[in-house]
C-alpha cells in the first residue's frame, strides 16, 4: 500500500477515501480489499451464531480489546432488579436464552461486557460514542444496520451480517469493495422547530429508500457544521434508511469536545496526537464525490412519514398523498398498499390523524438532547386522553441518570409518560414494548416498515419534540404551535 500512498497524497481525497486508504491491509486484483476494523460492537441478537461458528472451527477472537459487547434489543425496559437489588428474570424464554448466550460468550472469548444491570448499559449505538469507544477516523462495525450512527463523529461505521461478525471476531478485518461517495450538502439555517431528525427525513424523502445504495454519504454544509454532535449522530444513524451503508460528518472541534474525557477515549499525549490526526481527515479542497445532492435548509419543515417506507415523507403541514400522484407505476402500487396498511386516505391532513401510542427512544433519538427537546414540549402539559401508552426510553443508563439530574424524568412522569430503563424498546418489537395491531404510533425511531413495531402496528416517524407534541394533543401535530 505504501507505493500507492505517494500518488494518493497528490490527489485531493474525501474524508471517506482517507479513512478507507488508512485501513487497507491487502488488495486483490479485482479491487476487493481486506479492511482493518478498529472497533467491533456486539449485541445479543446477531452474535450467537457467530460465536457458535468460532467454537465449531476452534477459532478465537483475534482482538478482544477492540470488541465491546452490550445487550439491548431483547431487554425489557421495565425494572431489572427488585427492591433488594436482585436481578429479575426475563419472562420471554427465547429472549432470556439469547441474552444469556451473550453474557456467557463475551467473557469466555475475553470480550468486555457491559451487563443489563450496569449503569453504562444502553443501546449499543448510544454506548459506543458515550464511552469514547467510538472514535473519529476509525472503522466501526456491528451486526446492526444502524451502526451508520457512529459516522456522526467521523467514523466509517456500518452494519454487517452475522457471518461478517464471525469474520471480524476471527480476523479483525472484512473483505470489502470501496463504495461510491455521495455528498449531501445542506446550506442555510434551519427554521424554528426544525430538528436533525427532520433534516434526515427530508433527505430520505428526496433521495428515496434506495437512493444511497452503493454509496457512503458525507453530510456537508453549514447545517451540519452548526449541528450538535448528538444531532449528527441522529442524521448519520438513518443513512441506511436512504440505502447508504454508512454516513459521515467531518470531525471538528465539537466532536473533540464531545469525546474528550470519555472513559475509553485516549488520554494525555495520545489524545493530542489523536486530535492532530483527526483534523487531517476532512475532505481536501478540490476532492470530488461520485454524486452530489443539495437541499436548502430553509425548505425543511418539521417532517414525518405517512407510509411504510422511510422515503414516504411529508411536512407536518402536508396531506396524505394520492398514490396516483407518483410517476412510477410500482411506486403507485406500493403507496396504495401502504395507505391500506396505515388506514389512511389520500388528501387527509396529516395533522388530523389521531395516534394511540408515543415512543420516544431508539438509537436515533434517545440521547440527552432528544430528551430535553421532548421535555420542553411536555413540560406543564398532560398526555391526551386518547393516548394508551406514552413511553420515554433513555438510550443508556448514563443518559437516564443525566436526565434525572436535570429533572426531566419528573416532567415526563407528571405529564403522564412512562419513564423506562434503557434499551431498543418499541423500535423493533423484540421485547415486551409493542404497538398493538391496527393502532398508531408517533415514534422517534428509524423504521416504519410493515410490522416493525409489532404485527399490524402503524408507525409515523417523527422527531422527539414532534412525538411529545403528538402525546399532548393526541394527534400528529405541528410542534411549532406548542413552542411559542
Amino acid at each position: 500500500m505504501l507505493d500507492s500512498g505517494s500518488s494518493m497524497a497528490t490527489k485531493p481525497r474525501t474524508l471517506y477515501d482517507k479513512i478507507w486508504d488508512a485501513h487497507v491491509v491487502d488488495q486483490r486484483d479485482d479491487g476487493t480489499c481486506l479492511i482493518y476494523i478498529d472497533r467491533h460492537l456486539v449485541h445479543e441478537v446477531t452474535s450467537p451464531q457467530a460465536f457458535e461458528g468460532l467454537r465449531v472451527a476452534g477459532r478465537k477472537v483475534r482482538r478482544p480489546d477492540l470488541t465491546l459487547a452490550v445487550p439491548d434489543h431483547n431487554l425489557p425496559t421495565t425494572a431489572r432488579v427488585d427492591a433488594e437489588g436482585n436481578r429479575l428474570p426475563i419472562a420471554d424464554v427465547e429472549s432470556a436464552q439469547q441474552l444469556a448466550a451473550l453474557e456467557t460468550n463475551a467473557p469466555s472469548f475475553g470480550i468486555k461486557y457491559i451487563g443489563a444491570t450496569d449503569r453504562e448499559q444502553g443501546i449499543v449505538h448510544v454506548v459506543g460514542p458515550e464511552q469514547g469507544f467510538s472514535l473519529p477516523g476509525t472503522t466501526i462495525v456491528c451486526g446492526d444496520s444502524h451502526t451508520a450512527c457512529h459516522g456522526g463523529i467521523g467514523a466509517l461505521a456500518f452494519g454487517i451480517g452475522t457471518s461478517e461478525v464471525e469474520h471480524v471476531l476471527a480476523t479483525q478485518t472484512l473483505q470489502l469493495k470501496q463504495s461510491k461517495t455521495m455528498e449531501i450538502r445542506v446550506e442555510g439555517t434551519l427554521g424554528f422547530g426544525v430538528s436533525p431528525k427532520d433534516v434526515i427525513l427530508a433527505i430520505i424523502g428526496k433521495i428515496g429508500a434506495a437512493g444511497g445504495t452503493g454509496y457512503v454519504i458525507e453530510y456537508t454544509g453549514s447545517v451540519f457544521r452548526d449541528m450538535s454532535v448528538e444531532g449528527r449522530l441522529t442524521v448519520s444513524n438513518m443513512s441506511i434508511e436512504g440505502g447508504a451503508r454508512a454516513g459521515l460528518v467531518a470531525p471538528d472541534d465539537k466532536t473533540f469536545a464531545y469525546l474528550k474525557g470519555r472513559p475509553m477515549a485516549p488520554k494525555g499525549e495520545q489524545w493530542d496526537q489523536a486530535v492532530a490526526y483527526w483534523r487531517s481527515l476532512a475532505t481536501d479542497p478540490g476532492a470530488t464525490y461520485d454524486k452530489v445532492v443539495t437541499l436548502d435548509a430553509a425548505e425543511i419543515a418539521p417532517s414525518l412519514t405517512w407510509g411504510t417506507s422511510p422515503e414516504d415523507v411529508v411536512p407536518i403541514t402536508g396531506l396524505v398523498p394520492d398514490p396516483k400522484s407518483f410517476a412510477d407505476p410500482s411506486k403507485q402500487a406500493a403507496a396504495q398498499k401502504s395507505l391500506d396498511y396505515m388506514g389512511l386516505v389520500p388528501g387527509q391532513k396529516m395533522q388530523d390523524i389521531e395516534v394511540q401510542h408515543i415512543f420516544i427512544g431508539s438509537c436515533t433519538n434517545s440521547r440527552i438532547e432528544d430528551l430535553r427537546a421532548a421535555a420542553a414540549v411536555a413540560k406543564g402539559r398532560k398526555v391526551a386522553a386518547n393516548i394508551k401508552q406514552a413511553l420515554v426510553v433513555p438510550g443508556s443508563g448514563l443518559v437516564k441518570a443525566q436526565a434525572e439530574s436535570e429533572g426531566l424524568d419528573k416532567i415526563f412522569i407528571d405529564a403522564g409518560f412512562e419513564w423506562r430503563e434503557p434499551g431498543c424498546s418499541m423500535c423493533l418489537a423484540m421485547n415486551p414494548d409493542k404497538v398493538p395491531s391496527g393502532e398508531r404510533c408517533a415514534s422517534t425511531s428509524n423504521r416504519n416498515f410493515v410490522g416493525r413495531q409489532g404485527p399490524g402496528a402503524r408507525t409515523h416517524l417523527v422527531s422527539p419534540a414532534m412525538a411529545a407534541a403528538a402525546a399532548v394533543t393526541g394527534r400528529l401535530t405541528d410542534v411549532r404551535e406548542l413552542m411559542a
Binding site: 481486506l34 446477531t46 439469547q98 446492526d144 429508500a209 472513559p263 496526537q273 490526526y277 416493525r452 404485527p455
Partner: protein
C-alpha cells in the same frame, strides 16, 4: 458451504419493490441462537394474505424468488438469508439489492442476480408457468423460450460460490499481513488501543 454452479427450477414471482428484512423475517423470529428453522417465519405478513404467491401450490419448493428494486433493504439481520435458505431458496433475481443483504446472501450460498427491470418483468411473466435457469458459470439467466439475460457478478464472489469457499479461512491465510498492519498501527496510531475503562 455448499458449492453452487447453477440454480434451476420454478421461481416465485413476488415482483414487489423495497421488500425489507422485516417482511422477509419479522423481528420476533430473531430470538433464535441457531441458523436453522427460520423458514417457518419467512414472509409471514405476506403469507397472512389469502391467495399469496408463497402458498400457491404452483410454486411449492421453488428455489428462486423474483422481486422488484431494493430487495432486502432495512436491517443487517442475516436471519433473512437463513430464512430463505431454510425455505429452499437458492437465488433471488431483482433489479437491485440492498448492500448488506447481498453480502449476507452470498455468505450463505444464495445467488443474487441483478437484471434490468425489463428483464425482471419478462421473467415474472415466464415464472407463472415455466421454470427459470440461472447459470453462474456463464453468468446468464435463460428460460424455455430462448430468453437469455446476461448478468454481472463479482468474480471473487462467483468463485467462492462455485467452490463453496470459507471466507474466514481465506482471510486467515493472510494473517501475516494483518499482523504487519497491527504493528504499524501500534507505532503510528497508538491511541487506537482503547483505554481500559
Amino acid at each position: 458451504m455448499k458449492a453452487v454452479n447453477k440454480v434451476d427450477g420454478r421461481a416465485i414471482p413476488l415482483g414487489l419493490k423495497n421488500v425489507d428484512t422485516d417482511v422477509i423475517i419479522p423481528a420476533h423470529y430473531l430470538k433464535t441462537i441457531s441458523r436453522i428453522g427460520l423458514g417457518k417465519g419467512a414472509f409471514e405478513t405476506i403469507r397472512a394474505q389469502p391467495g399469496n404467491v408463497f402458498d400457491d401450490p404452483e410454486y411449492t419448493g421453488a428455489p428462486i424468488i423474483i422481486a422488484g428494486d431494493n430487495f432486502g433493504c432495512g436491517s443487517s439481520r442475516e436471519h433473512a438469508a437463513w430464512a430463505l435458505n431454510d425455505m429452499g431458496v437458492e437465488a433471488v433475481i431483482a433489479p437491485s439489492f440492498s448492500d448488506i443483504f447481498s453480502g449476507n446472501a452470498f455468505k450463505n450460498g444464495i445467488v443474487t442476480v441483478v437484471l434490468p427491470q425489463e428483464a425482471v418483468d419478462r421473467l415474472l411473466e415466464v415464472a407463472k408457468t415455466d421454470p427459470i435457469h440461472i447459470d453462474l458459470e456463464n453468468k446468464v439467466v435463460t428460460t424455455p423460450y430462448q430468453d437469455r439475460f446476461a448478468f454481472e457478478i463479482d468474480d471473487f464472489r462467483r468463485n467462492c460460490l462455485m467452490n463453496g469457499l470459507d471466507e474466514i479461512g481465506l482471510t486467515l491465510a493472510n494473517a501475516d499481513r494483518i499482523t504487519a498492519h497491527e504493528r504499524t498501527l501500534a507505532q503510528t496510531q497508538p491511541w487506537l488501543v482503547p483505554v481500559a475503562a
